[in-house]
Amino acid sequence: MQKIRYIFLFLFGYQCYAQPDTLKSFELIDKSNTSIETDFIIDKPTEVNSSSNLTEILSNSLPIFIRNYGPGGIATLQLGGGTPQQTQLLWNGIKINYPSLGLSDPNVIPNGMIGGIDVSLGLNSQVHGSGGLGGTINLRPKQIDKSGIELELLGGSFGERALNASAYMLKKKSAFQIGGGSYQAINNFPFLNIAKIGRPTEYQEHAKVNRTYGHIQYKYYQNDKCFWGINGFLSHNFREVPPSLLSPSKAGLEDLMGLLQLSYHREFSKWKSETFLGYYGQIQNYQDSSTEIFSETKSKNLQFKSTWKRIYFKEKLSWRSSIDAMTQDLAVAAYEDIRMNLQASLSTFVAMQWKPSQRTYLTLRKEYNLQRFGPTTPTIGHEFIVQNKRYKPAIGISIGKNYRFPTFNDLYWRPGGNEQLEPESSNSASLYLRFMPLNKLLWYYEAYYNQTENGIRWLPTNGVWQAENVELQKQMGIRSRIETNFELKKLSFTLNSGFEGLISELKSSSNEWKESPFVPNFNFQASIKMEYNRWSLLYQNQMNSRYYTNFENSIFMPAVDLHSALISYKLNPQFKSGKHSKTNLHFNFRVRNAFNKMYQSTPYFPMPGRSYQISLIIKHA
């Protein structure tokens, strides 16, 4: 029955991009008009999830698997059946994965500045650099298109409360945004303690979260072909580590992260250039969930990226080339010294529009990292658009290579770091089919295959656990995505859905294939937004199939199916003169986990059941 349901979801899945303020302006993203290497574009994600963290935004927008260590704990992202280390998180092009562990934690990224999210899956992630074997998620800063202020007040179950404020200023030649906020939650939610006989209901303790952040953005437009900007954020996160079901230890972890980025855009007659200089620093406490071992890491990341694009034959052919360099240094007590990493890369990207119906792209990337060169990684893709105005069908294919360098821990952790490790390298291919009937429905299917060699695994060698290249991984999957919007009398509907079904397997040396741990066979997310006059209802659903938690496939986590709803009322007061106020009020009521599902994402880290949230958003323009 469950399989039939998944087939249904793949073929007829539904879902929506909800934008409460701008439903009428909602337009399907016609991929034939966008850059070919971006798979998903989530615009204005915080319009509907203003009080959510990035984890919630992503899980409500993509068929992504997020391994969550409980509210307040870390969360890791997994795209395309890869490991968390094979999913790269970027802030406007800057890598913000932890240099030590190689993974990223979306729970600690402030969302006040996020204006859009670009998701590149598999091979397409090459455009952002190496490492994203599963995919890459690039967070873009907000576009400032008006002057005004925004204030949000929020309260909810389990001691949740938040205050967010932003001010925007738009002048003829400059745009400015400043904002900040704080978020607290006690997280004293009830859960079933499955570690005890009879599974008694207990209350989570010592799981408090406290986040404060500030962000700033400034853009100066010299003229319509030249502008420069600066943006940055500073975020402080404190979270208590609950005793969990495994350990009675109580501790608090504190992270501080800051980012500052300078950007310069310039257009010449035939050239367009974009140059970024970014600094990303982080002080992070990390506690291993199993071993309860603490490590404090201090990392600094300085990254330079310059991309040049030239247009030929009235945009029939474009050539884009980029050079980027990055230095990272990392201090971890266990390394006993500071480790440096210098990485430089040169890549070139050629996109050709042969005819109105055909376009091709080719990328080549070469990187230098840690005193060694990575392999040259080519990617080639071709898209054929059938000339049918009614359905706008298109078929595309891509094939290429990618790779990921080992993390600092893999190389230097004591004991067991292995400086002789080779990068993980993958070969991938994908085939997709896209329809856009009547410009009202986007229907997208993709099949892909990925094989990764030299997968890095920690194994006991001569009595000491050591990182080694032993693993062979493969992922075979299908993805579908459907988006639409329509009106029925006075009701407006906006729907979209994303589905991914895959088999992700791995094996070491001469042994049999096993399913990759923590990779569900199916991920699905969907939402429907209905609007009537000033009211709107947003219904969201996300689910994943069961997944194994060990390499032997003997222990599994059951499937999870979560539902949530958001009811909004928008008020724009009217004066006696008939004019409307410049102030908009939004009242929101949200129910998360509406069916009170008791579940865990990571074994023995309980997640909360049903919870409620109310918020008031004041917008003055």
Binding site: Y14, S290, R457, N550, F551, H563
Partner: protein, 335 residues
């Protein structure tokens, strides 16, 4: 509109799910009918250590018996297991703890914060616990389940054995065998080669210690020691540092020694320089124990990433039975 209704119905119905929460074992429960237990280390840092139970009479086995009994995982790298009255004590190395269970593996208590505990031994009215990085031996009280003392030793301490009124502890990096007295103090030491293993008593009450050489650092050597004066009576080289013998065992009559070095070997205590190969199928042999009644058990860690196996052998090296364990089967405990 009707199709929308159908879609809603599907998703509302889907919310009525079965009540499974948290990790579930794919395989069956323990039957608690065996007397041989194999500690599977699991993947480092993954917390997926487990215990395999094997019934030598019915030749049946069950994996994951601790988790099946308690609903929580054993921890990261279970290292050693002893019996103390009606309790099993299990050291879990990378979780820094010692678990105390009843003989049905119901968790009774745990002692936390031990750093990197390795091997356990009841000595006097305490339990001694060696440590990989702790530079000493923990003294644990079996009544209060607390750590009540610590014996400082600047070394990676490993195997323990009670010899007369002393506890002999192997020091892996220095090649010393440390002698702990009944006052739980370091009293003496015996200098051997790197990587000494467990002290084994023979039928003449002499003690045998097999030094691995410390992973190709020194010559592996088998020593015979007089426990009275701590003098080395005889020593036998293994002919090269590439050998890495370990897991020395003795038979019921205590006149034959067994060990693993790429396979299972034996030697007589009266002709100790002559080593006889008993069993070798070119596997990754990791744990080894003489079970008694002319039976031995040998574990195969395969490539350390997939499920390992255990083999039951007769004392002449013939294969009697084999069973699949979890990842990296290591220490074997038998009643």
């Amino acid at each position: 509109m009707r199709s929308l209704l159908y879609i809603f119905l599907i998703f509302l119905l889907s919310a009525c799910d079965k009540d499974l929460i948290g990790p579930q074992y794919e395989i069956g429960n323990s039957s608690n009918q065996g007397r041989i237990y194999i500690l599977n280390e699991g993947n480092f840092g993954s917390g997926n250590g487990s215990i395999t139970q094997y019934d030598i009479n019915s030749q049946t086995s069950a994996n994951g018996i601790f988790q099946a009994q308690n609903g929580i995982p054993l921890g990261d790298i279970p290292q050693d297991m002893i019996r103390l009255g009606d309790e099993y004590w299990i050291s879990v190395n990378n979780s820094g703890k010692v678990l105390i269970c009843d003989t049905n593996f119901n968790l009774l208590n745990q002692i936390m914060g031990l750093g990197s505990p390795r091997f356990l031994k009841a000595f006097g009215n305490k339990v001694l616990c060696t440590d990989l990085y702790g530079n000493g031996i923990h003294v644990l009280d079996p009544n209060s389940y607390t750590k009540t003392g610590f014996i400082p030793i600047a070394d990676w301490t490993e195997q323990l054995e009670v010899v007369a009124n002393e506890c002999w502890v192997s020091g892996v990096n220095t090649g010393q065998v440390y002698i702990i007295n009944q006052q739980y103090m370091l009293e003496d030491s015996i200098a051997l080669n790197k990587g000494p293993g467990k002290a084994i008593k023979d039928q003449n009450d002499f003690v045998w210690v097999l030094c691995s050489g410390g992973y190709q650092l020194e010559q592996p050597i088998l020593y015979q020691i007089n426990p009275q004066n701590k003098q080395v009576l005889q020593q036998h080289n293994f002919g090269g540092i590439n050998n890495s013998p370990g897991s020395l065992q003795v038979n019921d009559a205590k006149d034959s020694l067994f060990f693993i070095s790429g396979g299972v070997w034996s030697t007589s205590i009266y002709n100790a320089g002559v080593f006889t190969s008993l069993y070798n199928q070119n596997h990754t042999y990791y744990g080894f124990k003489y079970l008694g009644q002319n039976l031995m058990m040998l574990t195969d860690a395969k490539n350390y990433a997939i499920n390992g196996w255990a083999y039951v052998l007769s004392s002449n090296g013939s294969l009697i039975d084999s069973l699949e364990c979890d990842i990296i089967p290591g220490t074997i405990f038998s009643e």
